[in-house]
């Protein structure tokens, strides 16, 4: 991982020194050990603060459309798919991007990392590739297998290598052959309507409607979000379970056919709600009904912006 980080720094430094880009968006260490934050390097010397490790859970594509000039961006597989979506939706131009592609081995789940500390805080997380080393406030260190710590979306990831890039920061990693990718969705689907409702009510019981999932998502860019519309008011502002469910349903539906399952929403959630339960369903439906994965092909419009004459029709009377 250290080599990858060094290569990212070197590339960013080069790009900035030769004025090929106006800024490079990457990650830098956050104030907590298991957290990184977005970082904008505008001068070559700032590039030294860039990091890349198992804590880079955010999707940096969120920040690109608001930046002026040409932007270098550090992009994992899922982020690059998201950049493809941003391009097809005319949010960014390809010529204004320099994509530093990162073949990604998967990110560590923040909760699984914290759980290893046994209730204590982490003071250091060192990413050694296959192994991840954590140091706790008690001075103990644990070495853990990366596979055991992976985020849920990284376990079911179909694209570890970037779809589009200008340069790669490391050797490509093999793409896995996933069996039963949507087992989680299928399990919920087997329930009867009452159980499903109880399941989702329980899932959302902690939601405080902070909209962190919306803000972390590059796809959520409406100038006025539907939750802020007042005439008509589609969804109440309260913590009433119906309002909360409505928010999550509409959010998921707005991302339907565009979501690349980067997991930024879930990583951003302060209440550890598995909000991907909703978007996973739309991803599964797009695969099953339309045979489409979002962001895999730069030349293709989003799923809901196209149609086939023989799309599913059997539920129409």
């Amino acid at each position: 991982m250290k080599e990858m980080e060094n290569r990212i720094r070197q590339m960013a430094k080069d790009l900035l020194a030769r004025e090929k880009v106006d800024q490079v968006v990457g990650f830098c260490q956050g104030s907590l050990a298991a957290v990184t934050r977005p970082f904008l390097a505008r001068h070559p010397e700032e590039a030294d603060q860039l990091v890349f490790n198992c804590n880079c859970r955010m999707n940096l594509a969120t920040f690109v459309p608001d930046l002026k000039g040409r932007t270098g961006i550090v992009a994992k597989g899922c982020d690059s798919r998201n950049l493809v979506i941003q391009m097809t939706e005319n949010r960014v131009k390809r010529e204004n991007l320099y994509i530093i592609g990162v073949p990604c081995a998967g990110m560590a789940d923040k909760n699984k990392l914290l759980a290893t500390a046994g209730g204590r805080d982490l003071i250091r997380v060192i990413d050694r590739g296959e192994q991840i080393e954590v140091e706790t406030t008690q001075g103990t260190t644990h070495t853990l297998s990366r596979q055991d710590l992976l985020q849920d979306n990284c376990v079911t990831c179909i694209r570890h290598n970037p779809v589009i890039y200008d340069a790669l920061a490391g050797p490509e990693v093999p793409e896995p052959d996933l069996q039963d990718r949507f087992a989680d969705v299928a399990a919920v689907q087997k329930m009867d309507p009452g159980e499903k409702q109880a399941y989702f009510q329980h899932l959302l019981k902690d939601c405080i409607r902070c909209y962190a999932c919306r803000d972390a998502c590059p796809l959520c860019y409406c100038p006025t979000c539907f939750v802020d519309e007042s005439s008509p008011q589609w969804v109440g502002k309260s913590l009433n379970p119906v309002d909360v469910t409505t928010y999550h349903l509409v959010r998921a539906f707005h991302d339907a056919g565009r979501c690349t399952d980067c997991g930024a929403c879930e990583a951003a959630c302060p209440m550890n709600i598995r909000v991907r339960s909703f978007t996973r369903k739309t991803i599964m439906d797009c695969v099953n009904h339309f045979g489409e994965e979002a962001g895999m092909n730069p030349g293709q419009r989003p799923v809901l912006d196209r149609f086939q004459i023989n799309d599913p029709n059997d539920f129409f009377r």
Binding site: V185, V188, Q189, P193, G194, K196, Q197, A198, Y199, F200, F226, P232, W234, G236, N240, V242, D243, T245, T246, L249, V250, A252, F253, H254, A256, G257, F278, K281, T282, D285, C286, H289, F290, V303, L304, D305, R306, F307, I309, D311, P312, N313, F315, F316, R317
Partner: protein, 143 residues
């Protein structure tokens, strides 16, 4: 105790299904009066917000009807709508809405008979499901 009468919000496209409802009325075809019809320019105009708003306001069912595929006044509006409805129906039923509360049909403006038939079926289906209990926003009781 009186029998349960469902309230159904019906979205009809201006060019076909609304015309069919008109024809059914003019021709005096009978169907139960459980629907509140909302006229929309095209079935493609229906958004998930409208459907959820109807349900949270207390509708027992939602029925959306448009032109037959290929006959859309806007050439391809209902093809886009169809993709959207596939995902919408799947998502809402995945999260606990009973199958049947959300109904879809294609009815042309010449099919007054079909409109009355489908209306009867839709109303019967939703009546059989009983009153909706999910996703309804109850107003807080004020003393």
């Amino acid at each position: 105790m009186t029998e349960f009468e469902p309230r159904i919000i019906t979205f009809l496209c201006n060019w076909c299904s609304y015309g069919a409802a008109d024809l059914a009325g003019v021709s005096r075809f009978q169907y139960p009066p459980n629907m509140r019809i909302i006229r929309i320019p095209c079935s493609g105009r229906v958004s998930v917000k409208m459907v959820l708003h109807a349900i949270r306001s207390g509708a027992d069912g939602v029925w959306i009807s448009g032109c037959h595929p290929g006959d859309c006044h806007y050439i391809e509006g209902n093809f886009y709508a169809r993709r959207k409805f596939v995902l919408l129906k799947e998502l809402l039923e995945y999260t606990g809405l009973e199958p049947g509360r959300l109904q879809f049909s294609w009815i042309s403006s010449a099919e007054g008979v079909k409109f009355a038939d489908v209306a009867q079926q839709v109303i019967a289906d939703i009546r059989a499901l009983g009153p909706a209990k999910k996703l309804i926003r109850q107003l807080p009781e004020v003393a």
